[in-house]
Symmetry: D2
């Protein structure tokens, strides 16, 4: 089964000039594989897909596909505003070697539920690759209804769902609606991963997994074997680590900028990527913020890798 | 001055196969020019920019630039989620002959105010063409603050603002904040155009102008000469015509689908475009809805052109 | 006709001890009457109805009814969460001499449209007094649909609407929907009053009218006689005066606290009320903010009355 | 410790005439006590506090206090828009025998965080009774920040929090922020109760507990003793039962009306209350909806009590 276990949404490291830093991305990918992740999600929100040009997206996807070299499936985000655009991205991702594509509902123009259904049906029909429905209401400004996802799963239009809504009640409805369809249910939550797994999630897609994949792999393994006490303890540790996203000053930058800046600052601090910069218009962290993150990592015992 | 008068946001006619119908687009463009519009806005929300591929966008822009042939300025929408993507679209639009580009704040990832500022500054710096800031909170899910727009206008970063917020109080603040900067202030409202002009708007960008440009040209001329009684009467007539957007059943399709479907149905009814279909995932109107729109047009005395 | 002209939503002056300052309220009321207002609205949002106890509400209403002494109608806000509570307030207001009551849709518990309709029908049936529907989405978190208000107006369930949505497009729909019903349409906007009157509003309910009722009376008179140039000039002056609500620091207090604090500070500065304090939990302005407001008033030529 | 275990938010049964049905309320209260609940919450959102007059609220509170007769603590909702109003309700609830009061942030007028803090501080200072902060963003339209609640808990301003946000991530932050303060953390979720308890919740306040308190008592007991497998099974059963709230047609009535109507219909079906009506403006369920709920109960094996 392709959609299970720990599937980190990879950050896309950039050089000082703003190009994709392929050496850093290879290092980050290898680090994830070495930690035992079960899949890789490229070009998600955490991968700054919305800020990258098509060329940069290509480079990122090619690099991860080459580094993964078939060891684990590679899921590619195909995030765009309309159906035809998403289909183009999806066909291209397939050509570059992606094993599945991850698509949201249309956005910018808000559409009705029948139109969301048509969107996924057209994408599925146009593509010889599994489709993962990506539910991220904070970015798309609408929520994918569990009942609709259940229909699409049973009709084999979608092969999995990535739920980044943070809403466990709706996640439970999703599990119930998709039960028996064979579709995987993944949560995007960093801090409720143990609970989602306890409820029956097939896998987890935590942005924080970039920094500490070993922790999430341990958490998942414990939960998978029914040892929720261990999973809970690991979750508690990871939730404390997630506190790095609270460090950047939110009066200056947005919530996502703060989280992405913190992730990249921590990755640079661990020596996994060369440069912590994010893509425009996301503003970089201040020196003081980066130092606070470094101190947080040190307290957490997460030093330089290698 | 480039940003004044009536600047309709052109619909993008499609063939039954979903390709851009260039013959219809030429006819629609010529109809607008004949009516005396002062500019043309291609690839706006009304132009289904979010649903069109890059190829389709190119075709639409080339067609309008060629048909306009320099008679009026052509503004091109460069709507995308991040700064680098918008810059790419903008450079491309310039190469295809656009006279100005129209860009929103970044979306999908919500950013802070300093990041919105950086977005427009980078776009301006990368481009040898005037930039129009497009404020459309219903789609972008954030509002461009009038004070920020005033700053950007006085710094010559932006050359105009298209305000599709529907909020006249904020539009007044925009007028005050940009006063003396030389930047144009355009409203996207179909139904408050007379009031926006009375307050000092430089121009109007009404989607309904696709169907009845003569009406908006008359409205604008009257307001421009201080004859608000005539402007008001014309507005009243056009507001009644705008009732066609209320006809489609909103339990089936989204608000924008309803409006775009109604516009295209009316354009087809007037013989200006060959086919009323919209781009996926927007669903077409029903036959009953199309007939109700045809009846509405007949009542309004808007028959076939030619 | 009871619902027309300038109907200021009176502030409720408080003593240093937090009691209703009846002497100040009498002075403020007399000042309004002297300026030629056409009605008085007690216990609206501007009157801090949500922060006052029932006893304080009674005192405020009694004081205004006594001071008005039948010269103009007194409208009483009966703002509460549920139908039975609103009916109790309304019967009580009638007993104290109110000429009409002003009620919102139910809030706290969000209800469906049929339930909003039932709410107003029950209120009307329980009361021998005209009911004004109060549309204030920023506080109630739902918008009263113009079509519903039209139905209620034609059925004589409501006698007027006070629209504090700030949305002129919807106000136009309201005017169209209620046309011929005899119901009055009032706008709560301080800064779009001239435009609302140009569109056919029967009256205006501006919070800023507490401070400068003469200005709004002049604006209304000009608009009423079709002299929109004068109305526009007066509106421009009043909009500048409304800038006092921008002075308080919004990182410390809420938007309404800022506006109410500014109004009361200005009233105290003009000598109309003894003390600028607002009701808990609304926090007072700082000394610097109060001084900035005083300076603004001086620039505007609005000195002490008497 | 007063704030722990199962604390059902009691429905308020009404007669056909809309009066509080004290006999039914006594029966419902006795049923809860018999099931082994640890406390009773009167006049919450589920108790229709927003729809009841002060007189009806009094009757409900008196009835429950008398029936509970000191066996378990009685918490009284003091839900109102402003601080002074809440203080009045709280003093009154104390006089009637409540053991604690439950208060939201101010609503109708949105206030700043410093004003929310002042609100709870004033309430605490005015009252010789524990204060429970009630976080219910769907009704209040703002979220109580966990950090603020932590401050108030450590300062002994609040004695507990009832979290009805449905957001387990924020609930975890709340647990962390209040740790060591002695304040109780209760969840209002019907369907995530097991997970909240696994995370360390002190208690649960499930509306569905009205219908099946035995289930929630079993769930709590299992979780309390660390038997999360049993808790999970019980939760699964209760989540299925919660499906009764999905039966009413949401195009006709609001979300809360649907849930309250379903609860009361089920209570009437079990013979616990005489009449299923809700308070105006909440509309009653249809006969078909009531029958579907009865069928659902039967399938769930929840027959008439006695």
């Amino acid at each position: 089964m392709m959609f299970h276990g720990v599937v980190p949404p990879l950050c896309t490291p950039l050089t000082d000039d703003g190009e994709v830093d392929t050496a850093s991305l290879e290092r980050l990918t290898a680090f994830q594989l070495d930690a035992g992740v079960h899949g890789l999600f490229v070009l998600g929100s955490t991968g700054e897909v919305a800020q990258l040009t098509d060329t940069a997206r290509d480079t990122a996807l090619r690099t991860v596909v080459a580094t993964a070299a078939g060891q684990v499936p590679v899921l590619a985000g195909v995030i765009d505003t309309g159906t035809s655009r998403v289909i183009e991205h999806a066909r291209h991702a397939r050509a570059l070697g992606a094993d599945a594509v991850v698509a949201t509902a249309p956005f910018y123009v808000g559409v009705g539920e029948a139109e969301i259904r048509a969107h996924f049906e057209r994408l599925h029909a146009a593509l010889d690759l599994p489709v993962v429905a990506y539910d991220i209401p904070s970015n798309v400004h609408s929520k994918l209804p569990p009942a609709l996802l259940g229909d699409l799963a049973h009709a084999k239009v979608i092969a999995a769902v990535k739920d980044s809504s943070g809403d466990l009640e709706s996640f439970q409805r999703l599990l119930d609606a998709t039960a028996g369809s064979g579709a995987g249910c993944l949560t995007g939550s960093e801090t409720l991963a143990d609970l989602a797994l306890a409820r029956g999630a097939d896998g987890i897609v935590p942005g924080l997994g970039n920094i500490d994949p070993h922790g999430y792999v341990r958490l998942h393994r414990a939960a998978h074997t029914g040892d929720f006490t261990t999973a809970r303890a690991e979750q508690r540790r990871l939730t404390a680590l997630y506190g790095i996203t609270e460090i950047p000053d939110r009066s200056r930058i947005g919530r996502v900028s703060a989280a992405l800046g913190a992730f990249k600052s921590a990755l640079a601090g661990r020596g996994l990527i060369a440069c912590a910069r994010t893509a425009p218009p996301l503003l970089p962290l201040t020196l003081a913020e980066s130092r606070a993150i470094a101190a947080h990592l040190e307290t957490a015992g997460l030093g330089r890798v290698s």
